[in-house]
């Protein structure tokens, strides 16, 4: 099924990325691309450099070598918030919600790159600031409906259970209406039912809004089911890249996951 889906041009391409922290090489000469509209999985054993790769993509780390092309343009060294403005949103492995704020406010913060009323109008509230607020509230309410979190709209997220927090975090990333969505282990620590819900949301986001998604995930059955193409990393090197079926039967990948006897 996966191989029959048609995609556009690459929305993001990384070429020969190398990243090291002092003497530790986190990524070595990594190249791959993500096509417009696809779901791209990045997998690999613990410490393979998957999260570092996402951190490079959204600008939290600056690689020592290599280049990142986004949306057809070579990207210079930008701050993470500038990259967010260009249209890359993400979720985090350990939930990084704003715990003191309500679900609604968290989602509204996700739209912060799209709000522009200046301090004067905000102090006045009536007029420009209120209109902007209502306009964005409407968009956020769509996401709340979509993720089925209406009941916890006004609850401070610190009080929510883990599964719901993960869902709110997805909502905050969705609220940005980005071109590329990076999901760092969206299903970590979830039970089967929650995983099914999350898969459904990811597939629907991709299908309904046409959002390109790159995700890191450890649950291989999930990856094989929903990903269009898979990149495999191990010890900071790329050891596999292709359709799920190809990757599943690749000898290097099997060795990396199961270990191999050195003789």
């Amino acid at each position: 099924m996966n191989s029959t889906r048609k995609f556009g041009d690459p929305i993001l391409a990384v070429n020969n990325i190398s990243l090291s922290f002092g003497g530790v090489k986190a990524l070595t000469d990594i190249s791959f691309d993500i096509l417009q509209g696809e779901i791209r999985a990045i997998i690999g054993p613990n410490g393979a450099g998957k999260s570092s790769m996402l951190n490079v993509i959204n600008g939290f780390y600056q690689p020592q070598e290599g280049e990142v092309w986004f949306d057809g343009k070579l990207r210079g060294p930008l701050r993470p918030y500038e990259i967010a403005r260009q249209g890359i949103a993400r979720t985090f492995q350990n939930i990084a919600l704003f715990k003191g704020m309500s679900t609604l406010d968290n989602l509204m913060t996700g739209r912060i790159t799209k709000m522009h009323a200046n301090m004067f109008w905000q102090a006045l509230w009536k007029g420009k600031a209120e209109n902007e607020e209502l306009e964005h509230r409407e968009r956020v309410e769509h996401i709340i409906d979509f993720l089925e979190i209406q009941a916890i709209r006004k609850t401070p997220v610190g009080r929510l259970p883990y599964g719901l927090q993960k869902r709110v975090e997805l909502g905050r990333a969705l609220a940005a209406e980005s071109k590329l969505l990076l999901l760092d282990e969206p299903m970590a620590g979830m039970n089967l039912e929650e995983k099914q819900d999350m898969c459904r949301f990811i597939l629907e986001v991709n299908d309904q809004f046409g959002t390109t998604i790159a995700l890191i995930e450890h649950d291989m059955s999930v990856v094989m089911d929903i990903a269009d193409r898979v990149v495999v990393l191990d010890y900071g090197k790329k050891i596999g890249d292709g359709y799920p079926d190809e990757v599943r039967n690749d000898k290097d990948v099997i060795d990396a996951y199961l270990g191999v006897a050195h003789d």
């Binding site: 919600l97 715990k99 704020m101 406010d105 912060i112 902007e132």
Partner: protein, 358 residues
């Protein structure tokens, strides 16, 4: 019973996100405002003005300011006293330098100047946080007070080193100086506090407030989803210092009339305001007022009861009040670490369900 939201349906997002979503709240606030503006001025006397209402209003404004910085944006500051001094000296230099300038503009400009100074002293916050930032802001406290003591230009070369506020009028009524009547100074300060409390509420519920809270709750995630940390932190420092500058200007110009910097704007004032917002509630507009009321009015109340009611000697009562207020601070922090505003919030939630708790 009477305090509930059932039957109070919201049919638009605008109605849902108003400041006081519950009808009872709106009525109470309106009544309080009418009482404060239309009734109190007729009954106010010198004692109520100088000992109770003006200190409460001035410190509320300072607490609001620090709460924006510390409560909403998470940047701890111990420079409040220094920034109040900037407001006071700006007010003094502006009134003496431009005698024709309307007093409202003088106060607002004092806030503006303090905002600029606040931005400068906020720059370290881009690199350091938490306790380290608190120590860095401590530098501003000592530096600013030292500056106002050392450079004679700031106190117009007066022999005593003090500054004192000349008389200024608004609509023909003196609001500063010795001729100002209690009702005039009270109304003048009240106007500032009410207007700027609403502005604080508007700023904190919109885009700016969310970017502050995002920085407070998780600064790295905030930057990655698109909050520029530089802008968010410096705007918090600017707005916060503006409020503290206003409060410093009112403290000097309207409340005290004459100040000496070391005594009036010492480090104890910085701590006082910090205690106010911790006891009142970090990240709460209402909490700023409750905290200011707690720290300024409780000692007065105890004094009245003990000296006036029981006839105990004043000096003993003074020490007794220290112990009592200190004990109460500890009690409230143990009962509710998130401050009196949180206590009030919990009470309200219980009231909504009363008398059926389940």
């Amino acid at each position: 019973m009477f305090y509930r939201e059932s039957g109070d349906f919201k049919t638009s997002y605008a109605a849902d996100q108003q400041t006081f979503p519950i009808r009872f709240d709106r009525i109470v606030i309106a009544l309080v405002l009418v009482f404060a503006f239309a009734v109190v001025p007729f009954f106010i006397n010198d004692y109520w003005e100088k000992s109770i209402l003006l200190p409460f209003l001035v410190w509320s404004l300072a607490a609001l300011g620090l709460n924006i910085l510390t409560g909403y944006c998470g940047q701890v500051s111990l420079g409040t006293g220094g920034f109040m001094a900037v407001g006071a000296y700006a007010c003094y230099k502006l009134t003496t330098g431009f005698p024709d300038l309307n007093i409202i503009f003088v106060i607002l400009l004092s806030g503006g100047i303090t905002a600029l100074v606040g931005i400068v002293f906020g720059l370290p916050s881009l690199r350091i946080k938490g306790f380290y930032l608190a120590v860095a802001t401590l530098a501003s406290q000592f530096f600013l007070v030292w500056l106002f003591n050392k450079v004679p230009w700031f106190y117009n070369y007066s022999a005593s080193g003090q500054i004192s506020m000349p008389e200024r009028t608004l609509f023909g009524t003196a609001v500063t100086g010795s001729a100002a009547t209690p009702w005039a100074t009270y109304l003048f300060s009240l106007l500032f506090v009410v207007v700027f409390a609403f502005i604080a509420r508007n700023l904190t519920r919109g885009r700016l407030g969310r970017s502050w809270m995002a920085i407070r709750d998780m600064d790295i995630a905030a930057e990655i989803i698109g909050v520029p940390p530089l802008q968010a932190k410096l705007s918090a420092f600017a707005v916060s210092s503006f409020y503290i500058g206003l409060s410093g200007a009112l403290f000097f110009g309207v409340y005290l009339g004459a100040v000496e910097p070391t005594e009036a704007f010492g480090i104890d004032k910085s701590f006082l305001v910090l205690f106010m917002i911790i006891i009142g509630g970090l990240g709460s507009i209402f909490g700023s007022f409750v905290g200011a009321a707690f720290m300024t009015l409780l000692p007065v109340l105890f004094k009245n009861i003990m000296v006036g009611g029981f006839g105990w000697p004043t000096d003993m009562v003074q020490h007794f009040i220290f112990m009592l207020v200190g004990g109460l601070i500890m009690f409230f922090l143990i009962v509710e670490p998130h401050g009196l505003a949180q206590l009030w919030r919990v009470t309200k939630e219980k009231l909504r369900l009363w008398p059926f708790p389940h």
